[in-house]
Symmetry: C2
Subunit: 213 residues, 2 copies
Amino acid sequence: MRIPNHVGIIPDGNRRWAVDKGLSKENGYISGIDPGLELFTLCKNAGIKEVTYYGFTVDNTKRPAEQRKAFTEACINAVKILSNQDAELLVVGNTKSDMFPQELMPYTVRKTFGNGGMKVNFLVNYSWKWDLDHLKEVKSRSNNINNQIQSYDVSRVDLIIRWGGRRRLSGFLPVQSIYSDFYVIDEYWPDFKPEHFYNALSWYSDQDVTLGG
Amino acid sequence: MRIPNHVGIIPDGNRRWAVDKGLSKENGYISGIDPGLELFTLCKNAGIKEVTYYGFTVDNTKRPAEQRKAFTEACINAVKILSNQDAELLVVGNTKSDMFPQELMPYTVRKTFGNGGMKVNFLVNYSWKWDLDHLKEVKSRSNNINNQIQSYDVSRVDLIIRWGGRRRLSGFLPVQSIYSDFYVIDEYWPDFKPEHFYNALSWYSDQDVTLGG
């Protein structure tokens, strides 16, 4: 079986899950933390080298304050939980905004936790515009774009898995997603099951790799 | 029914279609021309304002010479056929390369043909790197990225339809595709049927529009 090097995770559907349970929308995020850790372990055991979680975006911060507070808390907790694992952790996002949680500042340079191993990127207050705007600042025009964006330390994504049924990228790492295969799971993220991940891997293994060629 | 303003078309599967018919790969492209015109008419009748065809990319030009010749010829013919319709036509791609067909140079500035109407963009020798590299040249850092890329005259894409079963963007307009909904048809492009398009429109109409919010 051909295993992707780098898997991108779009954990969507927390709010719809909450509403289906009769909860208010902001109560969905806390139920997205355990699946994140479970998926981390599955990725690691599968031999994946790098995983990127779509935490929250600058676009998302325009939502009602109680939702913003809830998804920010969930991201802080998720990063702290991951820092207790064996991982090389990096938080990527616009730190020069009030929306970036100060608790996550220490994670914005890649650090090894435990015995290291898999690279884990967590997008927090991320914005595709912020990511690409960096190209306007570069001095060398001949250099590779991948090294000149804000998220230069995040490599090309081979497989993107999105929960919650939407078939769109919603601004997820536009440069690294150029050649990614895109797998959508209809279930909401808090209803994560290992078989979702295995189905995605199995589907990915049947795809060809052309990198646009 | 909610109709997209701008539809992106990835007409993939020409080579696999040819091989299935017992033809050599390069013989698939010529059968992709008629579907392009048929789809143009369907889009126009549906009230779509803009359509973008993924002709060929800089990545594609690394293929064997007989394939390159065949897909280049097919794109030249397709653009000429569209210029006999009512359309506002624009060819977008890297013209400063030998791979760009000189016959299409007159179309690299948007022009009205017939009574105009729908905008039609045709990507020819297009490259996402070439498109984004333009950001390195800009003088105003505060301006909007969408106005500062090479393909600035191509607007945000609402719905991308890809034929041939692959679930990937393959470098298609990364900035304009940030929030696009992505619909995949398993059949190969030369087997285009109007119902593919109607199914895509119907699916699109059921999606929400959040633009990342």
